[in-house]
Symmetry: C2
DNA sequence: ATTGGCACTCATAAGCAATGAGTGCTAACT
DNA sequence: AGTTAGCACTCATTGCTTATGAGTGCCAAT
C-alpha cells in the first residue's frame, strides 16, 4: 500500500502538470505546495510513485509526468469533482431551453460542451435500440413515390423516400398507414420486424401489393438506422492546443471522424461512481487515442439511458472540471429531452 | 503585357511549389523543366514576375513562392484542368449511386470529395430559398403534440414538434393538412408565408383555433430553415498537412466551423468559365482564410442551381486536380439528385 | 523518517563557423 | 536586345561546441 504523503504528491503532480504542461520536479513542487517537508523528501516519495508506475520521467533527470495509471488513481481516489460555476450553469440553462427540435438540441449541446470544456465534445444520438415506435407515417408525395417516416419516442425522426409501382390508391396508403401503426406503435423498435413479418397474412388482399413494397422498407429503416450516430463539436479545440499535445493530432482527428470506431468505444463504457465513465490513454483500445482521454456520461429518456455525451481531449485534461461539466450537461440534456 | 516565357516560368514555379512546398529557385527550375535557356535568363524572367507581384521571396535570396495574384493568373490563364482519372470516376460512381436519402447522399458526397482531393470538403444543403413546397404534413403524435413537416422538391425534409392546446379533433388535423397543402403545395417557399396570411379568412371556424397555432409554426419552419446548412468532411486532412501550412491551422478550423461565415462566403461566389468558382488567399474576405483557397461549384436540382459543393485547402493546393474533382462531384451530385 | 550536500545527467539555449542554394548585377557575347 | 557566364553577397540551415540549469539519485548525518 502506498502511504498517504506520496499520494498527496501524486495529486500535486497531476494538478501542476495539467496546469503547466511541463514535467514537474521536486523543487517546484515544494515551492507551490506546502508539504512541510523538504525537496529531498519529496524526491523519495517520487521514487515510490515511479516504482509503482504512477509517474514517469520523459528522460533521465527531468521532472515527472503522470502515467495513465497515475491519472487513473488520481481520478478514482484523489480527485474532487469541481461543481460547475454559476456562470456555467447559467450558460447551460440558457443554451438548452431554446429549441424543441431533437437535431438542434443535440447539436447545440455538443457546441456548448465543447465551449465549456475546451475539448472536443461528442453527443451520441439517442439509440434506436432501446427506443420504441411512437408513430409511423406514410405520405404520398406523387403518384410514384411515398415518404415513409419513423418517429421514435425519443423524438428521433427517420425518413425515407421510396419508389413504388405507380397506380396505388390514395385510400390504400391510408389503410396501410393505419395498419402499420396499429401493429407497431408503442412497441420497441427491436420487435418491429418480427411483428410485421408475423402479421403479414392479416393484410387484406388489395393492400398486399403496396404492403409488399413498404414493409421491407420499414425493416430497412429500422435496421439501417439502428446504426448509431455521433455529433462532434470543437475539433478546433484540439488544433488550438496542439503544442500541448504529444505527437501529431491528425491520427486523433481521423479516428474520431471514423464514427464506427468511436461508437464501439463509447458503447463499451459503463458509468462509474461519479456517474461518468472515463478511459485514460491506453485504456482506450483504439491506438490513435492512446494519448487522449475519453470521458462520457449517459443521458436518459423516459427513465432509461439512451445515449452518451462527453468529451475527448489529451490525457492531461482537467478532469475535475470536465467531469463536472459532462455530468451537468448530461443532466440538462436528460431534462430537456423530457420536454421534447 | 508580360511576355510568353515568364508566364511559362510562373507556371513552372506554381507547379513545382505545389509539389514540393519549398521556395523554388532559378537553378532547380532549369533542371526540372526544359526551357532551353540558362538559369540567369530565368532569373531575369523571375525579376519581371516579382515586379508584377506574381511571385515573392520569403526572404532575401531564397527561392520564390507564388503570390495570391500569381495563383490567380495561373488558374485563369495557364492551368489546364486535369480530367479525373478512371479510377476516380469509378469511385465517384460507386459512391454516389448508393442511397436515395438526401442526408446520406450529401454526407457521402462530402466524404468522397475530401478523399478525392485530400482537402477539407464542404457540401451545402440545397437552399430552401429557391425550392418549392412539395408537401406539408401534419401528424398527431399524442393528444398534446403535433408533428409538422415540410418537404421540398429538392428532397429536404424539415420537421418540428409543437405543443398545442389539448382537445383538438383528429378530423381537424386532417382538414387543416388538406387546407395547407391545397394552398401551398407546389408554391415556392418564399411565397408560403404571404399566401397563408392572405388566406387566413378562408379557414372555417372550427379550424381557426388549431390553425392559429399551426400557421405561425409553418412560418417559423420556413424562416428558421431558410437558414442554410453546410456539411464538412476531412478536417483531418488539414491537420495532416499541417507542416505545409503557414501559421496555425486552428483559426482556419474555427472559421469553417462557423457556418455563418462560410455560408456568406460561398454564397458570394459565382461560377467562372470552368464552371467553378475560386477564391484564393486574401481574395477571401474572411481573415482567417487568408492562407487558404476556397473552391466551389454549384450543383443543380430541376435545372437550377440549388447549392454549392467544394473544397477548402491551402492556397498552394493542386488546382488542376481539385477543379476537376469538384466539377465532377458536382455533376454527379446533380445527377443523383435528379433520381431522388 | 528526514534532510543537506554533492556529483551526475541531459534537455535547452547560445554562440559560431561552414555550407549551399539562391540572388542581383555587370560585362561580354550573339 | 536578348542571353549568358561570372562573381560577390545574402541568409537560412546545419553541425559543432560550450554554458546553463533544472532535476535526479544517493549517502551520510540528524
Amino acid at each position: 500500500m502506498i502511504p498517504e504523503r506520496p499520494l498527496e504528491v501524486l495529486k500535486a503532480i497531476v494538478q501542476d502538470y495539467i496546469q503547466s504542461n511541463e514535467p514537474v520536479g521536486s523543487k517546484s513542487l515544494v515551492e507551490r505546495h506546502s508539504f512541510g517537508v523538504s525537496a529531498a523528501t519529496i524526491r523519495n516519495d517520487m521514487a515510490i510513485l515511479e516504482e509503482e508506475e504512477l509517474i514517469a520521467a520523459p528522460h533521465t533527470s527531468s521532472g515527472r509526468v503522470p502515467t495513465d495509471k497515475g491519472y487513473r488513481l488520481f481520478v478514482d481516489r484523489l480527485n474532487e469533482v469541481k461543481p460547475i460555476s454559476n456562470a456555467e450553469r447559467a450558460a447551460i440553462e440558457g443554451f438548452m431551453s431554446k429549441s424543441s427540435d431533437l437535431d438542434e438540441t443535440l447539436s447545440q449541446t455538443a457546441r456548448l460542451l465543447s465551449q465549456l470544456t475546451n475539448e472536443i465534445a461528442l453527443v451520441q444520438y439517442p439509440s434506436l435500440g432501446k427506443a420504441s415506435v411512437r408513430h409511423i407515417e406514410l405520405i404520398a408525395i406523387d403518384d410514384k413515390r411515398l415518404l415513409l417516416m419513423l418517429i421514435t419516442d425519443s423524438g428521433r425522426i427517420q425518413q425515407h423516400v421510396m419508389e413504388v409501382a405507380s397506380g396505388y390508391e390514395a385510400s390504400a396508403v391510408e389503410k396501410l398507414r393505419n395498419f402499420l401503426n396499429e401493429k407497431v406503435a408503442g412497441k420497441p423498435l427491436s420487435s418491429v420486424n418480427k411483428t410485421l413479418r408475423a402479421s403479414k397474412d392479416e393484410i387484406s388482399a388489395p393492400l398486399q401489393a403496396l404492403a409488399g413494397t413498404v414493409i421491407p422498407e420499414v425493416a430497412l429503416l429500422v435496421d439501417a438506422n439502428s446504426q448509431e450516430k455521433i455529433l462532434l463539436a470543437g475539433t478546433s479545440n484540439l488544433a488550438k492546443r496542439q503544442g500541448e499535445f504529444p505527437g501529431s493530432i491528425s491520427p486523433v482527428l481521423e479516428a474520431i471522424e471514423e464514427q464506427v470506431v468511436l461508437l464501439k468505444l463509447i458503447s463499451e463504457m459503463q458509468a462509474d461512481q461519479h456517474g461518468v465513465s472515463l478511459r485514460i490513454g491506453r485504456e482506450n483500445t483504439v491506438d490513435a487515442l492512446s494519448n487522449t482521454s475519453v470521458l462520457v456520461s449517459g443521458y436518459e429518456n423516459q427513465g432509461s439511458e439512451v445515449a452518451k455525451v462527453g468529451v475527448i481531449g489529451p490525457t492531461r485534461m482537467d478532469y475535475s472540471s470536465n467531469i463536472g461539466a459532462v455530468r451537468a450537461v448530461a443532466r440538462y440534456l436528460t431534462q430537456s429531452l423530457g420536454g421534447l
